[in-house]
Symmetry: C2
Subunit: 327 residues, 2 copies
């Protein structure tokens, strides 16, 4: 049983509760990148929570300032995927013991990330436990009826991603010493991509009114695009050769290996989104105005099995379709 | 270094950030039971996060439905302390493995608690980790400028608590088999008090415009009343003999022992609040109208050291002033 089944099976409100949800201001509940609650006449509040655990989501003995940065960036990526503007966060921090140096470095990194990502800490809870773990709960503003959902993709829509895929998996391999690099700069680049991923907030904001569906790529393109397909009751066809890759990595890793990582590696925190034909020109206009990228990778097709058809992936081993806890 | 110092030292926003907080809608940041963010012209959203860890906050192999109930009730207690009305929560759940029976029981308890406590789940994240741990992030509505803060107590204000103290510590002793009881009903009562504490939401709502300061008693009366004193720049004098106790416990536990638990045991989730003399009659009126209790235990006095003077506690060992992580 994977994470998605757990949430669907056990934590969606019962039908009886769902009706009263509407009255109590829940505009979107469990099941998308964020929930939406009604904030004012023109704004909704997008809320999301992410947990990072030492040894599971980041290597043991990671620098504490980088753990903090990664945790906040990863949480904000869910706001980006909804087209929400980051506002506030709370931190639940569990530590084996109160090491003042560790805490000073951690909080330094957290405050730096909060400033860079324009999201203010408003509360927290610290507890003692065996492992370092953090839950960050983020909140952001989104104009009413403007949030990007997973459920709006239609047959014929084009599929895009905002940037190179596979970096997250390459970075993890590098940090875990499964990938050795001659190129020191490339190593630094990968470390940054792992610890300081750039949530695509600008892209999310620009895509409101343009994209028909969106998600952030945390579990791998196949898994996350699969969520769009499931929520939209469609399927997708993508072309392996169109996947944007980080070129310097190709000097170190076989193309098929990098493509495999791009399809199913996870941890990229780019957005995957769909755009209807009639909105393509609007997308081009947004791309010219705003500082983000869009790479066409495929098209939405009628529902079928599998949810995502990958052309040109005959040589790839794609069994592991995304990072799944408890898998 | 204890939990409070950690939050004060490391996680309060820097001064430079504080100014921009106002512009970005933060009405109250780190340091009270909840943060407050501006929601609409007449409402603020109170937000708080609480983490519970197996073996630290509840015994290992606790029934999963009761873990869920306790976690939500404890988190909502912070909303009660602010005079906020519970609305929504998210759950970050960490488990060593995905045990379907455990998850079914847990989610059953969670949905039951959500219905009882009138708070709807809107999101969640599940991750794999060595121990069971949960962070619950609650959100509630409070009318603008009506929130109960820790910082409003004035010299001469009377100090009250909403119900019996010491039950939390007695319950923990009972569950840990340090306290054996002949009386089965009393054991059941204590288990209920531990796993299903009643957050004092009605009291908190009724106390808006009446109490000058309030806090919920999670870390023990001395520690939590101490927070009111520190935030209000006052001290407190309380009378041990006025502490409300659960009478049947006195057949099993020495009076001095129970008083000690009442003062410093923690886990009671009653409210401690202060009321100015001129508001006493309003308090009496509220008590007549609303279903909650208030027990007078002392008075606010000018600032001094210690923050809380305990009359009639000469025989008690009060070294352990509240439950402190990392202490």
């Amino acid at each position: 049983m994977n994470e998605f089944n757990i949430i669907d099976t056990f934590f969606k409100p019962k039908a009886a509760q769902s009706e009263s949800d509407i009255a109590s201001g829940i505009r979107l509940g469990v099941g998308d990148d964020c929930a939406l609650i009604s904030k004012s006449s023109d704004l909704d509040l997008a809320v999301s929570v992410d947990t990072l655990i030492e040894g599971v989501h980041f290597p043991e003995s990671s620098p504490p300032d980088l753990i903090a940065h990664r945790a906040l960036a990863v949480a904000i990526s869910d706001l980006a995927a909804m087209g929400a503007e980051p506002r506030y966060f709370t931190l639940a921090l569990t530590l084996p013991h109160a090491d003042t140096d560790w805490l000073a470095a951690f909080s330094g990194g957290l405050h730096e990330a909060a400033t860079q990502l324009n999201c203010a800490i408003i509360g927290g809870d610290t507890t003692r436990g065996q492992n370092v773990s953090l839950s960050i709960h983020v909140m952001g503003d989104v104009a009413k009826d403007q949030a990007l959902l997973r459920s709006g993709a239609k047959v014929g829509d084009k599929i895009y991603v905002t940037g190179p895929l596979g970096d997250g998996a390459a970075a993890l391999a590098y940090l875990q010493k499964r990938l050795t690099l001659q190129d020191r700069d490339l190593g630094d680049y990968l470390s940054r991509r792992f610890y300081k991923p750039q949530p695509q907030v600008r892209a999310g904001l620009a895509l409101r009114g343009v994209a028909s569906a969106a998600i952030d790529i945390s579990d791998g393109l196949l898994a996350d695009l699969g969520h769009i397909c499931a929520a939209s009751d469609v399927a997708a066809r993508i072309e392996t050769k169109r996947l944007p890759l980080t070129q310097p990595l190709l000097a170190q890793v076989a193309l098929s290996h990098l493509q495999q990582w791009a399809l199913s590696g996870g941890d990229d925190y780019q957005l995957c989104f769909t755009v209807a034909k009639k909105r393509q020109s609007k997308l081009m206009q947004k791309l010219a105005e705003a500082e983000f990228s869009a790479h066409l990778i495929g098209e939405i097709i009628p529902p079928g099995d599998p949810l995502v058809i990958v052309d040109g992936a005959e040589d790839l081993n794609l069994k592991r379709s995304g990072y799944q806890h408890f898998a």
